[in-house]
């Protein structure tokens, strides 16, 4: 028996969510009186996972798995779970995790709950708390199967150091041809940009910015903060910004530490997607904009005045704190 956690990496380096997932898995394992085994695919240094509580690391290194492939990765994780007799499998809420979690769950005949925000409310029965209705509410759900698959919500648990001694062992899963039925033809990815999924800070613009030509200041503000850029739905519908930046109930979810909304009114569908961001700042010239009711900090003012000032101030602040 153990808790198995899949630790995501990119180009041989673990992602921050991998450490968060291990921290969480350690919490689950402690509650169950067992230990954490991590499985990595072409991942980083196993000892880094020990810092957060993984006692054992199954390292898969396989050139055929160089690029994410849901079918094959799900197979690897399910095989690792079987080998470790895992009772709980911890995944994250990254796009890749959400893609493969249902495949892992069916393979293991395990019940799956995504968007889990905290340690299980109960171990027996196994009850987990998660967001539903696109962050408008929480639900507690019991997973009734012997093996449980959990998708941890981003930024919900944080990093917890739990230094344990770690043993790494190489793991060679058996893959079949069905695992490679999907061929990647091409990848089109801006490698220099922070993605909404990874970002600690997101700077988002709405229709109040009047046109795509005014996004220079949004990009500049984001660059100073090391932030990702995002937008409201009409902005991407009008083609001012790419689809991939549209956040909200029908777009991407944002779970960053800081969300700065500029010229966005705060419609219910927009707010649903950003509710799990920790701190929200609004810049809007209409004091009645609904977003002010959902924000932590606000400036009532014209974005075309406030944003340039904010950029200057942050430049000075960064220079001072460098």
């Amino acid at each position: 028996m153990s808790v198995l956690v899949y630790t995501e990496s990119e180009e041989g380096k673990f992602k921050k969510i991998a450490f968060e997932a291990v921290s969480y898995a350690k919490g689950v394992a402690d509650a169950m009186g067992t230990t954490v085994t991590a499985v990595t695919i072409n991942g980083g240094n196993a000892s880094e996972l020990g810092t957060y509580g993984a006692s054992k690391v199954l390292e898969v290194s396989n050139g055929e798995l160089g690029q994410f492939n849901a079918e094959a990765y799900a197979d690897v994780i399910a095989q690792a779970a079987k080998k470790e007799a895992a009772k709980v499998v911890v995944l994250t809420s990254s796009a890749n995790s959400k893609f493969m979690a249902p495949l892992v769950a069916v393979n293991l005949e395990a019940g799956y709950v995504p968007n889990v925000t905290q340690l299980p409310v109960n171990i027996s029965p196994f009850n987990v708390k998660h967001t539903v209705f696109t962050n408008k509410a929480f639900a507690v759900t019991e997973i009734t199967t012997e093996i449980k698959v959990i998708g941890l919500a981003k930024n919900a648990f944080g990093l917890k150091e739990n230094g344990v001694s770690t043993t790494a062992e190489s793991f060679a899963p058996s893959l079949d041809t069905h695992d490679f039925d999907m061929k990647i033809v091409s990848v089109d990815k801006a490698s220099d940009k922070v993605t909404i999924a990874d970002a600690e800070i997101v700077v988002s613009g709405g229709r109040g910015l009047k046109g795509p030509e005014n996004w220079g200041m949004i990009e500049e503000l984001a660059a100073i903060l090391g932030a990702a850029t995002a937008c409201s739905k009409p902005v991407s519908d009008m083609g001012w910004r790419p689809h991939s930046e549209h956040v909200g109930q029908t777009g991407k979810p944002v779970a960053s530490n800081l969300y700065i909304a500029i010229g966005i009114s705060g419609a219910i569908q927009h707010l649903a997607g950003i509710n799990s961001s920790k701190v929200k700042v609004v810049i809007n010239n209409d004091p009645e904009a609904p977003f002010f009711k959902a924000a932590d900090y606000g400036i009532v003012g014209d974005a075309f005045e406030v944003v340039p000032q904010l950029i200057e101030k942050l430049k000075a602040f960064k220079a001072q704190n460098a």
């Binding site: 994410f68 849901a70 079918e71 893609f99 979690a101 249902p102 495949l103 769950a105 069916v106 005949e109 019940g111 799956y112 995504p114 968007n115 967001t131 539903v132 696109t134 962050n135 408008k136 509410a137 929480f138 639900a139 507690v140 759900t141 019991e142 009734t144 199967t145 999907m182 061929k183 033809v185 091409s186 990848v187 089109d188 990815k189 940009k193 999924a197 990874d198 600690e200 800070i201 903060l225 689809h243 549209h246 029908t250 530490n257 800081l258 649903a272 920790k278 701190v279 700042v281 002010f292 924000a295 932590d296 900090y297 606000g298 400036i299 009532v300 000032q309 101030k313 942050l314 602040f317």
Partner: protein, 246 residues
């Protein structure tokens, strides 16, 4: 080509969410139900397959009789036939099991589902269905072309997109991008009239056990009032010293 579009019947995006019976049930009182937005994009894409490549399009929902207006709407938009599997949608796995039986019986080449339903945000039905039926699966799908039995699929990935090639049968978890907002169709009078005479078959469920059980619901704690500041100096100070996010 036979296409099945999976339609989830969900509260309209503007709905206020409330619970009843000691916070154990979603309160449907006064709630308007719609086709799940991700499914609406998929349905429109299916219409293009029908018009350009002569595909047959069926829609399916697993749920009680209350979902029939939503299925009728899909027929009015242009689907040829609708199927309702007569059992409450209790959890993602049991819904996927029901859909798998429909897919096997109808031998569909392409199943278009949504990336997730906006009610329970499970994002699990399409993947589970693919696994249960042995079909290929692409999630967060933002474009698809089919040529014979091979498909070229565009998938959104963090920070970009990826083009994949694969074979039918295929299940996709679709979203905006499959078609644009402006491509969505509003049923017109003719469509609504025609929908009345199109078949809506009610099927008995197959045996399927749920793997999860809903215990209770809770609304987020009300938040404190916004702190309004009138200059950027104060804002940066607060973000640094109080919120500690920069």
């Amino acid at each position: 080509m036979k296409i099945l579009v999976c339609i989830s019947h969900v509260p309209d995006t503007t709905s206020k969410i409330n619970f009843t019976e000691g916070d154990t049930k979603f309160d449907t009182n006064g709630v308007q139900f719609v086709i799940n937005p991700n499914d609406e994009f998929g349905l429109t894409r299916a219409m293009w397959f029908k018009e350009k490549q002569g595909a047959t399009v069926h829609v399916v929902n697993v749920g009680g009789p209350e979902t029939e207006p939503t299925l009728r709407k899909a027929l009015a938009i242009g689907a040829d036939e609708a199927i309702r599997v007569n059992t409450p949608a209790t959890d993602g796995y049991s819904v996927a099991k029901q859909l798998a039986a429909v897919v096997k019986e109808g031998s569909y080449d392409l199943v278009i589902a949504g990336r997730e339903s906006i009610d329970y945000n499970g994002g699990m039905v399409p993947g589970m269905l693919a696994k249960l039926t042995g079909a290929n699966f692409v999630n967060t799908c933002i474009g698809i072309e089919v040529d014979g039995t091979s498909a070229t699929v565009l998938r959104e990935i963090d920070g970009g997109k990826e083009t994949l090639s694969t074979a039918l049968p295929l299940v996709i978890g679709g979203q905006k991008g499959l078609v644009e907002e402006s491509d969505l169709r509003i049923p017109n009078m003719r469509g609504i009239m025609q929908a009345r005479s199109k078949p809506l078959t009610v099927k008995d469920p197959v045996a399927a056990t749920a793997e999860t059980k809903s215990v209770s619901f809770e609304k987020p704690a009300p938040r404190g009032a916004v702190k309004l500041v009138d200059n950027v100096d104060d804002l940066v100070n607060l973000l640094h010293n109080e919120a500690k996010v920069i």
